[in-house]
């Protein structure tokens, strides 16, 4: 009777194969885990820097992003109401407010940059989204994001409007993406909720 015909052979065989393949995977997983974590951190840091008025070189490396972030970005404090602070030469240059809310397919996570006056938007960036590429996914493109620069947070119930592309714009509204009504609506909903809350908290602190 050969080895292959024994009753225990399939079990030992399966066990051996599983053990071998799992070992390789665990080694590979452990080797890459640090990198995966770093990717996530850098994605967030990049979004913060992109939302603020910071000029990043075109081919910026993850290390550069990290070092700029570490040197210029400070934790939130009482007056910033949950927003990170951009501090250069001991003066406050802006706020970076992290946002998070449901998109059409999966959660959208991003950062909105605001000037020290607490009114003017310096930019917006997203570091996690799974919207339809080419439609909702366009929120990560500069054509959409650049619209936010210089807009004012209005003193109304919707501080920042995302309007139909055919409508006229004013100082606190931007155009939605054609064909991505759902993404635009959802983004507008949670973006405004965050801005309202932020404004309220800052008001409370002032008085």
């Amino acid at each position: 009777m050969s080895l292959k015909d024994r009753a225990w052979f399939p079990i030992v065989y399966m066990f051996g194969i599983t053990l071998l393949l799992s070992t390789i995977l665990i080694i590979f997983g452990t080797l890459t885990r640090k990198r995966v974590k770093e990717n996530e951190t850098v994605a967030f840091e990049r979004a913060v820097l992109e939302a603020l008025p910071i000029d990043l070189p075109a081919a910026v490396t993850p290390n550069q992003i990290h070092s700029i972030y570490v040197s210029d970005i400070r934790e939130a404090n009482d007056s910033s109401a949950g927003a990170l602070r951009y501090v250069k030469e001991d003066t406050l240059k802006g706020f970076a407010l992290p946002l998070e809310g449901p998109g059409f397919w999966a959660p959208i996570k991003g950062v909105i940059g605001i000037e020290p006056d607490g009114l003017t938007i310096t930019g917006i960036a997203f570091y996690e989204q799974n919207e339809t590429p080419g439609l909702g996914g366009e929120i990560t493109k500069s054509t959409f994001r650049d619209q936010f620069k210089g807009k004012k947070i209005a003193e109304t119930e919707t501080p920042l409007q995302i309007r139909n592309p055919s409508e006229a714009l004013d100082g606190s509204s931007v155009h939605a993406i054609t064909g991505a009504t759902q993404t635009s609506n959802r983004l507008a909903a949670f973006l405004n909720a965050y801005l309202l809350e932020w404004r309220k908290q800052r008001m409370d602190r002032k008085w």
């Binding site: 065989y13 995977l25 990717n39 799974n130 439609l135 054609t178």
Partner: protein, 212 residues
């Protein structure tokens, strides 16, 4: 060693004659969703080729030792192993792409083509030939999906691989947003399958006529 003619035959049947997508519309679930951008489709295709080729090779290498009753389990395990490797590598070295493809890389495990090639070919053929077979099946499959992606991205977004195409990105062309959305994938694939089948029918008829 593998004869050159045999290798060529294997490649030709896998890519055209027995192309899994044209013949049975097998295994499109794991990839059709990412066909609205050519670049995403190419990476997805690379993942499929990587998995079919290497799993074919490994299954074939082990075919003499694997007990019959646990054959399927071993095959699934090997396929899953390669898929996880690819997924993890993508996460570490190309995080943006990993995010774009979402769960679809993992779904390659349930792609019927890979399991089908392992069962039908790798189980009875030497490792190198199985590698070639897996590679070509994967390539044939990717080719069809890239065709779908080219049509969808061009008509829907006026670009190819993110680069605007002259006429289609201009104001003269009204972008077909429906092509970027799910129905576009169904329509495009249907038309491509239709064309391919009609062409294959013609050649088959010619062959039978010629032999008479």
């Amino acid at each position: 060693m593998v004869g050159r003619k045999k290798t060529k035959d294997v490649v030709l049947t896998a890519v055209w004659g027995e192309n899994p997508v044209f013949r049975q519309i097998l295994g499109i679930c794991s990839a059709l969703a990412v066909t609205n951008l050519v670049l995403n489709t190419m990476v997805m295709g690379a993942a499929v080729i990587f998995t079919t080729a290497l799993s074919g090779f490994t299954v074939s290498l082990l075919r003499k030792y694997t007990p019959r009753i646990i054959r399927m389990m071993v095959e699934v395990l090997i396929i899953a192993f390669y898929v996880i490797l690819f997924d993890q590598a993508l996460k570490a070295y190309w995080p943006d792409m990993s995010g774009n493809l979402g769960p679809y890389v993992g779904l390659i495990i349930t792609n019927c083509i890979i399991m089908g090639r392992a069962e039908a070919f790798a189980n009875n053929n030497p490792p190198l030939l199985s590698f070639v077979d897996g590679f070509s099946s994967g390539a044939g499959y990717s080719l069809v999906l890239i065709c779908v992606a080219v049509v969808r991205e061009l008509l829907g977004m006026g670009s190819l691989m993110g680069i605007p195409v002259p006429f289609f990105s201009s104001a003269l062309w009204d972008r077909w947003i429906i092509m970027v959305m799910p129905p576009g994938a169904f329509f495009t694939l249907a038309v491509i399958v239709w064309l391919a089948r009609t062409m294959q029918k013609d050649t088959e008829e010619k062959k039978t006529k010629g032999s008479k």
